[in-house]
Symmetry: C2
Subunit: 242 residues, 2 copies
DNA sequence: CGATAGTTTGACACAGCTCAATAGGCGTGG
DNA sequence: CCACGCCTATTGAGCTGTGTCAAACTATCG
């Protein structure tokens, strides 16, 4: 039995054919011949929860597209206090071009699958393909917008609002095929309470207490610590403080 | 008496000849003919302290280079709580390409001079000039790094560390010709106590108290509320918590 | 079924907030 | 030049939200 050759896919490397990043991610900027060049030097990998992808102040040899799972980007003060400064979902691009050393720590919050390529190759292709650099600019601007939104959460919201904001963020990002604006949303939390605390600038205990309040008030339901049902998105949004 | 025609400057528009942004800013990406095209549709303006440059959810018709002064970028919650999410100094680029509506508020924190141009023109030039888009990407990545650094300050530092971090930020950015790593640094604060509080996620009173402590401990000196002398940068750095 | 890591709950402490009063800087007008 | 008023900043006193420490509970997995 022959595999039907789809015209659209005929020149696309096998590695890329089923890849999300080719559509919504960075690789969408590349034409088939560029995809072939990139795919020859790229590799897919699956990493387990907790493994460090990029260390702070470490040389970075590869960039990646996130294909599935959640990555946490964090910074640590000298005395060990930690702050998560961003979460990355598929099909985000992981890496900081034009800098050899990372200024932050990237760690798999869940099991994560990646498609990685050498930094040098990406930077070379960026010179040749303005469209690639354009996509990267668009993603970077998006991340900057998100970072600034989160600064409001960190600086001006109460613990209750912070936790609601976090649940809202996850509800909106974790399900790739999210039917927006439906009342009830179900997902597994990609982060532990400790991670959530580090993301919100709170302690584990405060996060836990606020989750309990949301549960007792019937805004959410929780099963076995990780599995969350948002009973009513609107109420959650109201609790997140605009 | 003739003005000597410098070869380097001979084709540069008058408007641009003394401009900082042509060297360290975005315009450095442009060749003389592009500079001429841009300068024909650009204009310099000076705006006074407190005037709003871009309103939240407002249509943006022009982008600008900051030539002098300080701009604060802020976001406001429904009930009026405010957070400053970034400060811009010369020769930063003010604007958010690829979005017609602003998601934040830009206001002159001091008297500010700007060189402005129509958004449409910049976006057209970006298509033709990858170098321009490249510079914008580099600036955006820098702002993202800064935003993430500040998230650590907002989420994990104490009030004392926050105020020290703020003074450090200003000391490092306000003086264009800063002789780095000299022990004593003098500057005028570009922000009121209320602005500082909104930047740090604190109240005016807490900011004031922490400044008083720094003053009494001899780390800084303050004259007439705005004029600050950092007596010892190293001590200030230590108080900022890494 | 016990071990371990993660989570919840409780009691208490304290950093930073709120409200209120005072002090200082600066421009205006006598 | 001083007197006044306005605005901003400082200082004080008390309160409260969130952190700290400690203990109990729960899920998961061998």
């Amino acid at each position: 039995m022959n595999i039907r050759q789809d015209i659209h896919n005929s020149e696309i490397p096998l590695l890329c054919q089923a890849c999300e990043a080719r559509h919504r991610g960075l690789c969408g900027a590349l034409d088939p011949s560029q995809l072939v060049a990139l795919s020859k030097q790229s590799w897919k990998q699956t990493v387990e929860t907790g493994s460090e992808l990029v260390g702070d102040a470490e040389k970075v040899a590869s960039y990646s597209n996130v294909l599935s799972g959640v990555i946490k980007l964090s910074k640590t003060l000298a005395d060990g206090r930690q702050q998560i400064v961003g979460l990355q979902f598929a099909p985000d691009f992981l890496g900081r071009p034009f800098k050899t050393e990372s200024a932050l720590n990237a760690e798999a919050a869940t099991e994560v699958s990646l498609c990685s390529f050498p930094t040098a190759l990406v930077e070379r292709m960026m010179k040749d393909s303005p469209e690639l650099e354009h996509r990267l600019l668009v993603q970077t601007l998006k991340e900057l917008d998100e970072a600034r939104d989160w600064m409001v959460t960190l600086g001006r919201k109460t613990a209750a609002e912070k936790v609601a904001s976090f649940l809202l963020l996850i509800a909106r990002n974790i399900n790739p095929c999210r039917p927006l604006s439906q009342k009830e949303v179900v997902f597994d939390l990609p982060l532990t309470r400790a991670d959530i605390a580090d993301f919100l600038g709170l302690t584990i205990e405060t996060v836990s207490r606020q989750m309990t309040i949301l549960r007792k008030d019937g805004v959410i339901a929780i099963e076995s610590n990780r599995h969350v049902t948002v009973r009513n998105m609107e109420r959650l949004e109201r609790r997140a403080g605009a």
